[in-house]
Amino acid sequence: MKITESDVAYVANLASLEVLDTEKSELAEQLSRILDYVEQLNRLDVSGIQPTSQVVTSERHAVRDDRVAPRTGSSEAGKTVRLFAVPKVITER
């Protein structure tokens, strides 16, 4: 799969990453090589195979009783400088 510099710019935008013009061609080349390597998966016939997004090993289900358990509260967390202090993030149009 050939990744172009404009592909890099497109994906960088999706990921909120700033890619410098000087980095684009090297990144395009490296990503192309990695995707070329990944192409080998196409040799496999996976029709009818279920995807595995997580190897489920736990017997207990994620749903539990809705009970309050002790944990670090916001008053504790607030001791860490700037942790919840955010700047003005609304931009006027």
């Binding site: 990744i3 592909d7 890099v8 994906v11 960088a12 999706l14 990921a15 909120s16 990453l17 700033e18 890619v19 410098l20 990144l27 490296q30 990503l31 090589r33 990695i34 995707l35 390597y37 990944v38 080998q40 998966l41 196409n42 496999l44 996976v46 195979i49 279920q50 995807p51 595995t52 997004s53 997580q54 190897v55 090993t57 736990s58 017997e59 207990r60 994620a62 539990r64 358990a69 944990r71 670090t72 504790e76 967390a77 001791k79 860490t80 400088v81 942790l83 919840f84 955010v86 700047p87 993030v89 609304i90 931009t91």
Partner: protein, 480 residues
């Protein structure tokens, strides 16, 4: 006092006999760190004052006649992507340089409750993305056996700290081999438990379906002890397993009969270092001599594991790392608007390898490519898992080399990301299948560099895995 070869069980004996105090041991350890770490650079943050304070507390408890537990006063190092309350958790990244978590990871909390003493936070490849610790946003760590070589990664600081006697044991994290590969390169024991065995609460997420906290130590017994303490269900991690780990240490000496070890032919590839192959094959003969039955097996989808892994791991990473946007954590770049702040923060705060992986992961999840890359990789993951399920119908354990080579030179693989990825070829299948695996020393090459052998077991079979590794260790005597 020579700390270099001191294991936790030997140290516990010294405490029980009142031969040393915890304070003496911790002071001694920091002297060793002062001597050695300027060269090795295993630590990002040291916790000298708090460690000494904790040591004095333990000494007071011991003097008052409190029982000395197996981890009482044992100095441990923690990989810097695992939260320790009031110490920075940087993940080796500039973007988290000033982040101080107000809580500890469950695994750390359990170690401290068992009496262990945290000496510091260890270096890693940024966000655990790498196999050499060269990708740290701060500085590379060096291999204590040869300072011109890498310690492996991403838990390179943890492995190097244990190998150099700067910690008795350490926690690492293993997403594709990040505990076992550096253990192999540094000549120590490294165990990655079954997915879900250890709570991931407080472990900074890289690839959530693959990440697992593991242990690095000087002996299998110490690994078993640490694992016994940190394992178990945790309300804060809904993927943690509600399956008892049992008495791992007590189980080490149980005798075993008719244990079958499978040796997959796909793991003895042509590009392998001949000295590594020779030592691993000698290890197979050693197991045979101990009465284990050795069988050739096949895991036919092995060759697809790296491609599968780098799609899944990076897709998950691109999603997990979206949270580092300058709003909630650590570093924030100056900007006039929101989008610009996100971009500038991530540009300045994230390293090249991390950006490369986010781009690859985002690409694999983007419209038009999701089916072709991400979903395809998830299906191949099923095939890899089935290979193992089939193998475990006829064998109890699987034996492979941990890595194709010994520790490589610093700088040797930096310019070629793909060559670096190929380093994980023998370790990533464990993560894709959620299986437990361990790397144990099995000798050295002609230059004196350590070589590791990997054992894998079926889900939740850590007892069997550690017992076999312990027998091998006792018979072989390869440990530092």
């Amino acid at each position: 006092m020579n700390l270099k070869n001191l294991t936790a069980d030997k140290l516990a004996l010294l405490y029980r006999n009142r031969d040393v105090t915890v304070t003496e041991v911790v002071r001694n350890l920091f002297q060793e760190i002062d001597r050695t770490d300027p060269d090795v650079r295993a630590f990002i943050t040291l916790s000298r004052d708090r460690a000494l304070e904790d040591a004095r507390k333990q000494d007071t408890l011991i003097a008052a006649g409190e029982p000395i537990e197996p981890l009482t006063g044992i100095p441990v190092a923690i990989k810097d992507n695992i939260a320790v309350r009031d110490l920075p958790t940087t993940c080796g990244s500039k973007i988290l340089q000033n982040y101080v978590p107000p809580y500890s990871a469950t695994a750390v909390e359990r170690l401290r409750r068992a009496g262990a003493i945290v000496v510091g936070k260890t270096n890693l490849d940024e966000f655990a993305m790498g196999s050499s610790t060269e990708n740290s946003g701060f500085f590379p760590t060096r291999n204590p056996h040869d300072l011109t070589r890498v310690p492996g990664g991403s838990s390179g600081g943890s492995a190097a700290s244990v190998a150099a006697g700067m910690a008795v044991a350490a926690l690492g994290s293993d997403t594709g081999g990040s505990v076992r590969q550096p253990a192999s390169f540094c000549g120590v024991v490294g165990v990655k438990p079954t997915y879900g065995r250890v709570s991931r609460y407080g472990l900074v997420a890289f690839a959530s379906s693959l990440d697992q906290i593991g242990v690095l130590s000087k002996s299998v017994r110490d690994a078993a002890q640490m694992l016994e303490v940190i394992s178990g269900f945790d309300h804060y991690d809904s993927t943690s397993a509600d399956t008892s780990v049992g008495k791992l240490v007590a189980g080490l000496e149980h005798s075993m009969k008719d244990i079958r070890i499978g040796v997959p032919k796909e793991y003895f590839i042509s590009g392998m270092d001949p000295e590594v192959r020779a030592k691993v094959e000698a290890g197979i003969r050693l197991f045979q001599g101990l009465g284990y039955n050795i069988e050739q097996i096949s895991l036919p989808h092995t060759e697809y594991a790296i491609a599968t892994y780098y799609i899944i791991a990076n897709a998950e990473a691109s999603s997990n790392l979206a949270r580092y946007d300058g709003v909630r954590y650590g570093f924030r770049a100056e900007a006039t608007g929101l989008q610009e702040m996100y971009r500038k923060t991530r540009q300045a705060g994230l390293g090249q390898e991390v950006k490369r992986r986010i781009l690859l992961g985002t690409y694999a999840l983007s419209a038009g490519y999701y089916e072709a890359y991400y979903n395809k990789a998830l299906k191949v993951r099923t095939l890899i898992l089935r290979d193992f399920q089939k193998a475990y119908e006829t064998v109890d354990l699987i034996l492979t080399p941990t890595t194709p080579t010994v520790a490589f030179k610093i700088g040797e693989n930096v310019s070629d990301p793909l060559a670096m990825y190929l380093n994980d070829i023998f370790t990533i299948t464990c993560n894709l299948s959620g299986l437990p695996g361990i790397s144990i020393p099995c000798g050295r090459n002609s230059a004196g560099l350590p070589i590791g052998l990997q054992l894998m077991a079926n889900h939740f079979q850590e007892g069997l895995l550690l017992r076999a590794a312990h027998q091998f260790e006792k018979a072989g005597g390869f440990n530092i």
